[in-house]
Amino acid sequence: MSEGLNIVVPIKQVPETTEVQFDEETGRLIREGVAAIINPFDEFAIEEALRIKEKHGGVVKVITMGPPWAADALRDAISMGADEGWLATDRAFAGADTWATSLTLARCIERMGGYDLVICGLKTTDGDTGQTGPEMAEHMDIPHVCYVSEITEIGDGRVVLKRNMDEGVETLEAPLPLLITVGKDINQPRLATLRGRLKAKKAEIKEITNNDLKMDPNEIGLDGSFTRVVKLFEPEVPEAGEVVEGTPDELAEAILAKLQECKVI
C-alpha cells in the first residue's frame, strides 16, 4: 500500500428541517425555500475520515450526487478539512432510488483514483433508509460494516472495529478496501475553521457526468430505479383523550385510576 489511506466519504445534501410539506395534487415534496445542509450523519463520517488521515496520512475525498448546487455540501466538507470534492451531476441521474444511487456512486468512486476505506453516514435525515452504503459496497464487491462505533486499529491492509448491534457490541476484523457506516456515537464532528472556509471557496469541484461513466441509461436515475413512490400522505394521529390539571396528589390519583382501568396494576 502506498503512503497513507485513500478515504472516500459519500455525502448528501438534505433539507435543514424534516418538517416538509407536500403538494397534495402532484404528490411531490415542496423543496423550494427550504435551506439545504450536509446530512448530519455524514458529518460523523467526514470527521472520522479526517481523524484517520491525521493519524495515518492519506487523502480524504468527498463525493455527492445531486444538482449543481449540491457542490455547496462538498465545499462545507472541504472547509472541515476534506481534500477533494467530487460532484456526480447529470440530469440522467435524477430521480434515483437507493439502488440506482448506490450503483452510480460506486461507479464514480471507482474512477476517483483508488480507495481503501469508504465511510458513509449511517442514514440520511430525509430518506431515512440507511441502504445506500451497504448497497454501494455490494456494487463495488467490497465488504461493509454498519453502525461502527469505534475503529480500534488500522494497518497492514486490515481494520479492527466495533459495531453496535441491537443486542450488544461486536468486535470485527475486516480487510481493506472496506465500506463502513457511522453514527453519532463514533465522534464529535469539528467545526469549519475560517482558513478552511477560504480554502473551500477556492477549491475546484470535479464533476462527473454520465459522459464519463457511460452507464446504461436504464440503470441510472428514475429509469434505473426499481422502486416507485406511488403515494405520499400525512401520518394518522391517534385521538386525544382528556387533559387534566390539579394538585400533584389529584394528578397522581388520575394516573392511578387509569392504570387500574387498564388492569396493569
Binding site: W99, G130, F226, P235, V243
Partner: protein
Amino acid sequence: MGEVPVKVTDACTGCGVCVDACPFEAIDMVNDKAVINEACRACGQCIDACPVGAIVMSEAEAVDLSDYRGVMVYAEQRGGRVHPVSYELLGKAQELAAQLSEPVYAVIVGSGVGAGAEELVRRGADKVFLYDDPTLADFRDDPYTDLLAQCCKEEKPSIFLIGATSLGRSLGPRVSAKLQTGLTADCTYLDIDPETRLLRQTRPAYGGNIMATIITPNGRPQMATIRYKMFPEAVKVDHPKGSVVEKTVDVSKVRDRVKVLGFEEAKEQVSISEADLIVSGGLGMGDPKGFELIREMAETLGAAVGASRPTVDEGWIDYRHQVGLSGRTVRPQVYIACGISGAVQHQAGMKTSDIIIAVNKDPEAPIFRISSLGVVGDLYEVVPRLIEKIKEHSGRA
C-alpha cells in the same frame, strides 16, 4: 457480482477496435459482433475505445416477473433463537400469500438452527429453507448475503421480507443489490394492490412527518425491511402441512471477508421492544438524575425504561432505551411519557401503544394531542406520589 458488467449493444458495427483496446483479451468477434468473455475485468478501456458508443457498463438483467411466486420471510436468529420479528413477518406473509394464492416460505441461516426451522413450520410456513453449517454460527454479512441471494435465485419468491433490526438493515440492502431488485426500508404497513397484485410498501420518511407508499414494479423479489412490533406474530397452526427443505452449503462458493473477534452483550438488557409497560423520560426532566425517578417508577410497575432521542443525545442514558423513529418502535399496553414534549419522530415510535399517559408541565406539549390521559404537572411532584399510591395499592391487593 459474478456476471460481467460490460455489455455490447445492437449498435456494434463489428469494427474490432475494442478487441485491440482490451488489455485482457476479453473480447471476441462472433458473427461480426463484439462479445465479452469471462476474462473481462470491467476496466472500461473498450467503452472508451468504441467509436460508436456500443459498449456500456450494465448490471441490469431482464427478469420474467411471472416466474416469481411465493412470499418469503427471512428468519433472523442469534444463538439459534429466532427473533420474534420473524414470526411477525411470517404472520403478515400468510395474509399476503392468501391474497395472492401463493405459498409462504421462510429461510433460516445459521448453525444448529433446525429447531428454529421446525418452529416456523409449526407456525404455518409451507416451506422452510434451511442453511445449516458450523461456519455460519456468527452472523456475517458476506456469507449470509450470498446464501439468501442463492435461495431467492433458486426459489424465486415474488416477495421477500426482512426484519428492520440492526442485522436486517445491514443485510437487506446487500442482498437487494446483489439480486438487482428494489428494497424499501423500515416499512410499517404492507398490503397487496388487488389490481396489479403488487406489494404496496408503506413507510415513514422525513422523521415521520410523511408516509410514503412504494411499489417495486419490475424487480423481483419485491423486497422490504419491516419494523419490529408492527404486526402480530404468526401462531401455531393446528395441522402444520409445511416442511423443512435442507439446502447444501458450499462454503467455498460464499464470500467471507469479515471476521467476528468478539461480542459483548449489552450490560443492561433493555427489552423495550417486548415490554407491555413502558415508563419513558424526556429532556423535560431537566437533569440526567431524572432517570433515577423513572427507573424507580418502572421498577414499581414492572415496566421497562424508555427515553426520548434528546436524552440519549445528551448522554443521559444508553441508546438502547431510545424510543422513536431513530430508536425502537414500541407497542406496549401502557406507555407513560414523563417530560417528553412529543416530537413527531418520537411519536412515530410509540403512538400505536394501546394507552398513552403523558406528564408534562407545558399544557401545549404536542404529546397531549395523542395521549389517552394528559396530566399537566411537574413530574417531580406527581411521580413520587404516584409511586407511593401504586405501592399502597399493590399492598392492599
